[in-house]
Symmetry: D2
Subunit: 472 residues, 4 copies
């Protein structure tokens, strides 16, 4: 009946004190679209009541002028979501909202509450009814049920019960609240625009609406915006800071500052480090566009080798793609990329991407490069081997599907049909993080999970260990 939200990526955006709150939120969500393209939603408040518009698809496809106009008021929160759990549909789309004894309440959530199952079972026992299967809905129930004398106390009481990754935006009739879990898994930043405030998953969302970045919401901080002033609460016990390194490697937009770092520079530095660890001397370095471009630029720069674009990426891909019955080899790669023969023909090529998960797309890309005439192909990945899923808000396949978990380097080289394949080293990657190197969660690379995760009352981490043993 209830399954924890393990396979979901999201972006959140909130704005306070802006007369076009909904349109601003729409623009903010648009610039966070890379964090989820499956559903999107905005709820606004005019102080007395809420206005709501939530649907499937991308922000600019779903919203139109009429919908935005109907979202009245000078305060709003929004959400974009991606989920691989089939048929999740509109029921789980966010923000969630409800009416309770204090008035209206809405919640937008990025992350994964790891003790949601237990709390939900408790709430159901007490008579709570649920509309969705998302872990986010428990936040609303906890707040509605709190016997605390005022809203702030109820809020602190409620979010204190949560464990896991949660960058939350909560809106009531007149308040906007931002909450970041004490581990700090997911980013959340505060900005300033006109005379009001904005909160967003990434700083790049500030650029489009001309907001200025103020600071990050700190791990374990609750920020309450009300009567045009900001108040900060830090009621959580201290936890080991565990910022998601995959945000920097892959998930966030290169134009963002995340965890006080330039995503662009971080990726370029990974490329430089990769070059340093690598003795090969190619004719050219090419990226898998657009994901591998920054690392490829760093790699080429470090080795002083020619950087070129050997693949042209198409940006016209629609929702569905009809494949002919007569099989076209590497169809999935061909609809995304066109090879540039004049660049590749006769060359010894280093191809760079930011990560390799299942390896199926990589294999098709390599074949396409080979077919275009490349003489030698050396595949380089600017992250270490991904060996275990994330339970805190990044959508990975299961252990059995992760190529790094199932094959040795030599096996991968044979599978991909490359002349060589290398990852950046774990230590190399950590070097790039600099002084903040203890502040990251790298569980996908080393299985050191900062918090336990339960599914239907059982520990997922225990399950994983058993799988590991069997595999041995």
């Amino acid at each position: 009946m209830f399954e924890p939200k393990l396979k979901e990526e999201c972006g959140v955006f909130g704005i306070y004190g802006n007369q076009e709150a909904a349109t601003m939120t729409y623009l903010g969500l648009y610039s966070l679209q890379h964090r989820g393209q499956e559903s999107c939603g905005i709820i606004s408040s005019d102080g007395n009541r809420f206005y709501k518009s939530i649907g499937m698809g991308k922000v600019t496809d779903f919203f139109d002028g009429e919908k935005l106009e109907s979202l009245k008021g000078d305060m709003a929160i929004g959400h974009v979501r991606y989920s691989t759990t089939g048929g999740t549909g509109i029921v789980n789309a966010q923000p969630l909202s409800a009416v309770y004894h204090r008035g209206y309440m809405a919640v937008a959530h990025n992350g994964n509450i790891t003790n949601a199952y237990k709390i939900r079972k408790e709430l159901e026992k007490e008579g709570a009814i649920f509309q969705s299967t998302t872990d986010t809905e428990i936040v609303i129930h906890l707040l509605a049920r709190s016997k605390a004398a005022n809203f702030t106390d109820a809020l602190i009481e409620s979010v204190s019960r949560l464990e896991g990754a949660f960058s939350l935006l909560i809106m009531t009739n007149k308040k906007l609240i931002a909450v970041r879990d004490p581990w700090g898994f997911r980013p959340l930043s505060l900005g300033f625009v006109d005379k009001g405030y904005v909160v967003a998953s990434e700083t790049t969302a500030f650029d489009i609406i001309e907001a200025r970045y103020i600071r990050d919401i700190e791990p374990g901080e609750i920020l309450i915006i009300e009567n045009n002033t900001i108040r900060s609460e830090k009621p959580f016990p201290k936890k080991k800071i565990s910022q998601c390194i995959f945000e920097l490697i892959y998930f966030a937009k290169p134009s963002s500052m995340v965890f006080h770092k330039s995503v662009y520079e971080f990726r370029k530095n990974l490329g430089k480090q990769l070059a340093e660890e690598d003795s090969i001397v190619p004719d050219i370095v090419i990226p898998v566009p657009d994901s591998g471009r920054m690392a490829a630029l760093g790699y080429a720069e470090a080795k002083n080798i020619r950087f070129d674009e050997g693949l042209i990426r198409s940006h016209y891909i629609g929702r569905t793609f009809i494949e002919p019955a007569q099989k076209i080899r590497d169809f999935g790669a061909k609809i995304k990329f066109s090879p540039v023969e004049s660049v590749l023909k006769g060359k010894k090529v280093v191809v760079i991407d930011d990560s390799i998960v299942r390896g199926t797309t990589a294999r098709k890309i390599i074949k396409m490069i080979r077919a275009a005439g490349a003489k030698e192909i050396h595949f380089r990945i600017s992250s270490p081997p991904t060996i275990s899923p994330c339970y805190y808000g990044i959508d990975f396949p299961s252990k059995e599907e992760l190529i790094a978990n199932m094959m040795s380097i030599e096996e991968i080289e044979r599978y991909l049909e490359v002349d060589s394949m290398r990852y950046i080293s774990y230590e190399g990657m950590m070097k790039i993080t600099g002084e903040s190197k203890d502040l990251f969660c790298t569980a996908c690379f080393n299985e050191k999970y900062p918090i336990e995760v339960e599914r239907k009352g059982k520990s997922i981490l225990e399950e994983n260990k058993e799988k590991n043993k069997k595999a041995e």
Copy 2:
């Protein structure tokens, strides 16, 4: 009532002898999508009758499995189109088709027939009725009215009457015909797949369906594919070859070979030439993505200066974009690009794009780069000043809107608020074309139009000259 098609860009694709002709055409059109996103259409033939599906929007948005399945037969032609003439709608979308005394006929056209007005008036006088305002419709009428004894003679008689730019695909119940005008304005290439043939505006369309490039349709050539064999006719009088240089500079996909040249290398070489003509020594070179990337790579390489990406391009732009009432400065640029502050801050930057038309977007981009902290901005264009519209199938604004026509270099620098602005020289550009330098139409740069164009019976080139005089 009738206006010649002066503002239209198109791509065409045809296939013969393939059991999934429609799906292959759909894939071919998808890879030609950059040539037009406004409408798309496919007509197929099973030898006895035609099947037709034409609509507004992109290929992957309009077509679905059901539509493709309804397009039966082993032969098909398709068309993608872009038009700035408002409200052209579905009536002018192609391929056009009709039934006439020999059976079915369909036509897909890239280019602009410059004597269409005169021919249409003649046809109307003879009792012809018209459904659209496109110049393409006259091709059908000429073929239907020919008194020639057989189809081939009728075809030759008909297309011989046409002047201007026309890369045409014509389909009858059992034949596929490709025609390229004797000036060779627009590209058209022949390929081979399985046991059948394909014809496409650009070679990149062959990659996705695993077709092999055979050769270009030559200027003035008529290719008739029938009974699984190819026959070539060259009935046209010789004309001065006038290949569109803008296809290489801007319009074609970098992964294509156009006019026997790699588009990618051509653009990169323009960047190198630009560097050679330019004495400035910047800290970094950045492209306006994705259009300026190849030239920027060439420029950086030639000068051995760091190439970086200072702007991240969004690829989620939908059909409509809601702008807030409270003006956001440079909104049009902000929804397309996000600046990377860590790259730009404090730098002396060379920014490269492939062309500058009105200058309005460039101005916004420059402001965005400046706001991100660039110290100096030097804007470079890898084509010469565009001073006059194209009447042969590229959509330019009118003379009065072309910035190069209205402002001096200094005025443009002031308007764009850049530290300096330079174009590549006309001679520099022509050097890059190498041995084939006499084979190009460069009228948009030097007003040397290879053919007269009439609008409502008047000469457009005469009109332009008068405008030039007045402007003096």
Copy 3:
């Protein structure tokens, strides 16, 4: 925030033990479509989980093969709804559903729970959160919160708290429950099909699926269908039976048996009674089609005068109707009816309808009949003057809009521009009900409301009395 559902008409349908439960429900709802065309919905159960499809519009417009196929399981409940409360939208559409500690639960409701406001406030105080503004949602909360040991006890405890009009269908994973309030305001009938059971607002819903009528759910009865057997509970204290006489006069379908009476014969008998009370001798009797037809037939039969159709009703009316700017007189009537001049010209006509509410449409119809040449027009209504709204599930305008409340007979005659206008007498109408005459609610005719109604904590009936005083 919460407004009681005073302006809503509904129909409900449920089926148990049928392998095509959803399609059967769709057919049942289709035949109840006259009870509400604004929204419709079906929820089915396969014993383990629920499947849900709810949307705006008519049953045959909203549902399609795909939607019905997705509604798996051998049990389902459905709902059709009409509401004049603007913009109620999909949020209030039924059936409502939720997950709670015992599993899934869904509710479809016809009627109006008069003490909903009080219960909702209590529930909110205890921490309940609400998704809709309908009174129906409290049923779910009461059931989820009950501490009773088993479901049946929880059900009895919950519905015992409700006051007002409620013909309810409740579905859990494996049970179908039908509840009818102890006053018996709205109809609810039980049928048998194949080896399973059906429950519907009206018996006509049984015809289309070839179910046989068994009996009515009695006022105050709870029927629990489980393990293919039926169990009946009657836990409510006895109340004065108050069946809605307007179901017989106007709302139900003529082909139904409602409250053990043939709706068709009831209406025809009203016409006969009306004739008996009326001394006029017209040339012809015509109905306002289709609503007045039965009474007109009865009237004509009783007086042995010619019955004819003087107005032809159009059945092509779509959702919206564009009216020209240049005013067309009586437009609203003209799009519904076309006059038959040959019937009306030069005649003394009695026109019969089942009720008159605001009088605006009647006025237009009369004008149309006059324009077609009628010599005299005598308007007859087969129900007594409607002087007060219904708070138990029929949508009436407010007291101030009811013509019978604002004008004397003479004033109405002048307003409608008829030669005479008469209602059936209250006593005449009650005579037709026969032996069961004490079992009806006739509050809309005599303001004798069987139960108090509260709105935002205030008594509506008190408000009305005050209005009456002021009006005096």
Copy 4:
């Protein structure tokens, strides 16, 4: 390639000199909706250019405020169409339009041009191209090709070539023309509204827009409205007047005057005549609603027997209807009709309909009446046996599907499971037509076709005779 339009029913409407021409046409088409619900279209003219909106579905479903506003100008023609020829789609939807040497031209057609095949072949030989498969398109070509000196001469020359049934509306930039074939098969009436003119298939279309009926367009008349004046031409040779009697029996709306007769009274008189020819004495007379109601009223009146409604017709039927897999007996009738048991139980019933074509629906209706308890059922048809298709604009099944052609009265009685079944006599029907009895086409009843019909160059009437012979 080309098939004559044998299976199409249509309605046409045109208006001249009205500032809301499009909206008026929309209302006119709405009131002609019974003549065709498959597609609809309007073309308007502002004197300089045409505006066009044509689509699938009903008038009020397809048109909206935006579409109507886009149809500028004070002149318009419109068309509604029904066709049983599968997949005819939008290509054949009307009005048709084109640009030719004199300007714009549009045509809306009700009827069937019987020599269309021959003319089309000739036109194709001369180089004409065709967009549709309808016979209407030849009208445009004939007009465009005429060498006549002025438009009127060209018009007369063109329509003089046509044979068959054609009530045509033709619109040019500034003229509205109405043409009725010299046989007068289909109706066409002229009206007056404000200072302008309207032309419509039936007079009922005048009621909704408050136009006054002036007169019918006469058989063989061409009416040219221009410069706000009307001119009449009668260039055709005289033909035997052959008005379609089925318009009066079945097709036209009862509120119309068609061929100078009240459709309502005609049908009622058929019922009276039927009663006169019938000796049975039933308990009640009921119609198949709504088609049989007028005849049933006449029958009951003539015999002085009780008229009642034993079937309630549903008007909520949508485009598609999902049928359960578990067969429901007589499903097609059940979704249309609900039986009124209290009317039918134990009765000797006469059931009346206006025609019987295949007999499949009638059979289901009879079963439903029987299941509701009728003791005896006597089925009466107010038209004679339909033994042959119509080739002039009414959609009948082929000879082999017409029940009257395949079964004797006794066989039909057995098939329908009725106690008796009777048609009105041919002579009886003709008596009702009164003085105008020689002015009708009754070919569907007696195979006396007024004009030859060709299909692919062969005579259809010859084919039929051969079939008749074989059948003997």
